[in-house]
Amino acid sequence: MPVNGRKRMVTITINKNQYLAEEGEIFLLTAMRLKIDIPHLCYEKALDPYGSCRLCMVEVVTCGKTEMTPACTIKVHNGLEILTDTPEVIKHRNILFELYLAEAPKSEVIKEMAAKYGVTKTRFLKKIVHDDPLLGKCILCGLCVRVCSEIMGTCAINFINRGPFTVVNTPFYEHNPDCAGCAACARVCPTNAIVFEDTEKDRVMRSWSGTTVPMMTCSSCNKPFAPEKLMHEIQSRLDPQINEDIRNMCPECRRRYISRREMKIPIT
């Protein structure tokens, strides 16, 4: 319980050492702050814990019994006891890494991460990558889908099919007019699987069935600088509204415009 608005500090035990930690905090974050290494792929601070990647599994000790639990789903409480590096944890984690190496054979991120924990080979049949819009790098952590719906409110992409046939893409694998081209999906992707490119006039989400979003051109320098739909969305939410003069300027021109105005240099 917060006391006077401050979080209560409690004692927890990690790998037999005692630490002070904030009550109610997600244990994965506590561990990260304490520089206790726990690999993870699907956790993102801005979203609720999802628990799909299973890499952050640790052992929770209760009454002498241990139970494998993902660190991102454990809330810190007084007397919490965790083991992060038991043979059991390592054994299962290594198999999970092998599964990831087979599922996303082209991902350098996965290779490096697995190697860091001593896994350099997989005994499982690697997925054959052929025409994969996600380049053989997707591990289906779901971050892109969740960012698109929960943060952006767009819902342009989603999971398709189920089980081993699950993929992420747009409905009917078609250009999706709902997409705002914000590319938050690409930024949040832990394995850099999502590809998009900005052309003269458009942002093309290559991974999402070529979904194309027109770019807004700067009213000053005439260069494209951000997806139109996204800009309108942002502008509609701003209060007070941006001054008409600089409304449709790229950030660079806007900066120059404002500094010139402040320095009283004539604007051309």
Binding site: S149, C155, A156, I157, N158, F159, I160, N161, R162, G163, P164, F165, T170, P171, F172, N176, D178
Partner: protein, 160 residues
């Protein structure tokens, strides 16, 4: 599906619980698949993102995006059917109809080139006492053997 029929279906679901799947279930039963245009219409009418609906219809095995042929054959693959030879029943049907048995999205659904028969599998009908079982257009056949397949198919206009 025309808009009026869809409106009628939607009208039958005043409560939020079970609404979306109930509506899609009726579309599936009526059209024998989920047409793309209908799904888009449902998305507009329920004010639900199309990506969510597409996710639903590809997740649940009751729905199919591919149209089916004149007759739909569903082979039960439940455990009692399996131990009593359901695999051989399916193979026999595929051989007689010249189907490959391949699936790319985890849902097996294959139609003959003449559009006469579509074959699919189901996880369990709950008619285990008569295993192995299959449905043709909703008619249940129990205690099926590979030898009985030509006779069953013939009833639905199959010619050797």
């Amino acid at each position: 599906m025309d808009e009026r029929t869809l409106d009628e279906i939607i009208g039958r679901y005043p409560y939020p619980s079970g609404r979306t799947l109930g509506i899609l279930r009726e579309v599936q039963i009526k059209e024998k698949h989920i047409p793309m245009d209908t799904l888009k219409l449902v998305s507009e009418k329920l004010d639900t993102p199309l990506s969510d609906l597409f996710s639903l219809v590809t997740f649940y095995s009751f729905f199919s995006l591919k149209p089916v042929g004149e007759h739909l054959i569903t082979v039960c693959m439940g455990t009692p059917c399996h131990v009593k030879g359901a695999e051989k029943i399916l193979q026999s049907i595929q051989e007689h109809l010249g189907l490959s048995g391949d699936s790319s999205d985890g849902k097996y659904l294959e139609t003959t080139p003449d559009n006469k028969f579509t074959v699919e599998i189901a996880r369990c009908f709950g008619a285990c006492s008569m295993a192995p079982v299959l449905h043709v257009d909703g008619d249940l056949y129990g205690y099926v053997t590979p030898e009985k397949i030509p006779e069953i198919l013939t009833r639905y206009g199959w010619k050797r």
